[in-house]
Amino acid sequence: MNMDRRNFIKSGALVAGGLLISFTIPGANKMAAMGEVATSAGLPFSPNAFLKIGTDNSITVLLSHVEMGQGIWTTLPMLLAEELDVDLNQIIVKHGGADEAFNHPVYGIQITGGSTTTWSEFDRYRNAGATARILLTQVAAKRTGVAIENCKTENGTVTAGGKKFTYGELAADAALLPVPEKVTLRSKDNWKYIGKSVKRLDAGVKTNGKAIFGMDIQFPGLLTAVVAHSPVFGGKVKSFNATEAKAIKGVRQVVQIPTGVAVIADNYYAAQQGKRALRVTWVNGSAVGISTTKQTAAYKKLAASNGLTVQKQGNASDGLSKSTKVLKAEYVFPYLAHAPMEPLNCTVKIENGKCEIWTGTQLPGVEQAAAAKILGFAPENITINVPFLGGGFGRRATPTADFVSEAVHIAKASGKPVKMVWSREDDIKGGYFRPFVVHNVTAGLDIKGRPVAWNHNIASQSIMKGAANVLGELKDSIDDTTVEGVKGSPYFTSIPDHFIGLHNTEEAIPVLWFRSVGHTHTAYVMETMMDEVAHNAGRDPVEYRRGFFKEHPRHLAALNLVAEKGNWKKALPTGHFKGVAVAEAFGSYVATIAEVSILNGQVKVHKIDCAIDCGLAVNPEGVKAQVESGIIFGLTMALYGEITIEDGKLQQNNFYDYKIARIHETPEINVYIVESDGKMGGVGECAVPPTAPAIANAIFAATGKRIYNLPLMNHKL
């Protein structure tokens, strides 16, 4: 990154006294700038702080991103502490609210997603720490007359000559100094925190019940609202009778909102009772005709023809006609609900032309704008407070601000401060799913079984189309979040004739990014197909893949490490079988080996070994935790994940029919980090993609069966 520091770092005095370091990134544009920050200057400075050093010696780091389990509550302060020379445990960590100062350095809006936080903030947070350290040192030097280069910072203090100052003692004066033009960051050899495993800073409050999630917001006068939604997705209220609902003790008010009828009560129980007593007549929306069976047939038909060109080389149909053997496969992937453990909720208080919102969101600015629009308020009159997120996985990054808008409508219609709480059923049936996707693949093999031609079509709803208000219009109707992982797959480097096509579909069920997004299905298709190709060639699946990775060293490094550590060649206990898969996602490279057995027609996953090359691992233990998490998320998706629809009605309800993998289904997991100088990638999502295909390939090794549609629970193995 090459940025003019003077344009984005600013220091200033805190109202309460002390030093404040804030920064904005000039001219960061949207998706197009992915990986590169624009260098144009001229945006105004923001008054919001990323780092505050109080005269009371308090050190507060404000996060531009939100903590939803991925560990940035620890990682971002690590980056800052590294340069500031403070004890990590001395730092008070807080979420920033909605403010342009917190815009993502790459996306240009305020977002936590895409596994981007650590690498995109790597320079920014270190610079903030270094800038503050220099200013504090300058003050100490001035006060003592000691030369700056003879002043030493350590553990929140500056030693100058024989005198020692705490940062707090220097903060007020430091705030008056101009920001240094040049800041030199520490070299790798001098890192104290970066690259070392650090314990999570939020673990304490997450083990004693004190962590506050959106669900836990309480204040006098706050009421609870629940919403009756249409049984047919997206249906509208025709009429309702609230007489019985209002007779329930504790029910205060019943109001109609655009998405249904809200019951407002003293507590959740009373509100739920009210909802049950409510009688609503619905007008069905356009989802009424949708059924999974019909959808499957329609998407299969679409994917059987070539769609919009995503990637093309040579002539795939010529190549296929010249092939010695052709493998054909049709894959079907269902809609998936994110189902974060904390059901969606949002607290809204409207008072004197201002609105305050508390919600676990990955998109605070989007929620702010949506609330402003609904209320007719200026955005600066909407305050967004972000407590801890009880899981996100993409569901709390809704470009339409669906659940926050709903809560704002309830507060507006009722005139009361309300905490809207969705039931688990509201969540499972709430839409914004991982899309339903069909892939159609034809692979042509030469006489030695090498793939020489490949024709690949994908049919899916576009996620980005629904996110245009946030991330801009799609170029050429090609949604990378549908095709990522097929597009740019390393295997195509050695397949001369190939075509990748896309069919964008439209449905009345909204779709959304779901942890690892397009890779949830594309890695499955590529890795099970390549396994099939390897098997046809009579080759070992690990050895065979190596041949394709000559120009892809990071794929190869991950594969080699997992093959070595996971003892790929070692004989397994009777009845146990292995499968492998490799994927690149969000800039990280992951290779996974799954060991399974088959019992009563169902798969049992015994062990998963996984190697990751994410470049520098800022907090290696945090990386391991994320990889474990991704694997288990992938396991759930492989075994159970499925939302089905009949006549517009979503069929699943709660965890009894939308199952999540549990502890007894969790295999032994070993994570290995590749020592790498490569570009930093993300780690929150990348372990999901190879999990399901590694399991499926192990199932093939065990049974000779190829699984072309998930979840596995639908197959008798």
């Binding site: 314990k199 019940g209 507590n267 899981g391 474990e628 991704g630 009894y656």
Partner: protein, 176 residues
């Protein structure tokens, strides 16, 4: 006087004619008495969260499928989302807030040592389930842990660390 009341199942007054299952109820939570005006049918979860004001116990599913709401009733683990408040009257209710004085329960310490929490939302329930397991079985095997903890979902997938932390806490307890 208060102390005596705590251990008696008692009801003060009927407060509503419309919903005649509403009473003034005393709940003993974490060694402290709380008086609430509640329907005896109200799930304990909502009494704890919305009436008593202790939010460490979490709502995850409402149908005893996820375990996020696990609390102890006289030392037994129950899913408070399906446990009527009536059942808790006169009993010692322990929530995550009352498990230890200062995050010093061996399980909480082990949870920190193994960096268990991610989003953290399910962890109150996980720890409360594990506490009963360890009390009844000081040396649980992996199978014992599976049996005791299978009712608690963690969407972040912290299960391997939960398992390791329970083994660690068991060791700590044994060495005491």
């Amino acid at each position: 006087m208060r102390k005596q009341q705590l251990f008696t199942y008692y009801i003060i007054t009927k407060v509503s004619f419309v919903n005649n299952n509403y009473y003034m109820i005393t709940l003993k939570v974490n060694e402290k008495a709380y008086e609430i005006d509640a329907s005896i049918d109200m799930p304990l979860l909502w009494a704890l969260r919305d009436l008593v004001g202790l939010t460490g116990t979490k709502f995850g599913c409402g149908v005893a499928q996820c375990g996020a709401c696990t609390v102890h009733l006289d030392g037994e683990a129950v899913r408070s989302c399906v446990t009527k408040v009536e059942r808790a009257v006169g009993k010692n209710i322990t929530t995550i807030e009352g498990l230890s004085l200062d995050n010093d329960h061996p399980l909480q310490k082990a949870w920190l040592e193994f960096d268990v929490p991610q989003c953290g939302y399910c962890q109150s329930g996980q720890i409360m389930s594990a506490a009963v397991l360890l009390r009844e079985n000081p040396s649980p095997t992996d199978q014992d842990i599976d049996d005791a903890m299978a009712g608690n979902i963690c969407r972040c997938g912290t299960y391997p660390r939960i398992r390791a932390a329970i083994h660690q806490a068991a060791k700590t307890l044994k060495n005491k």
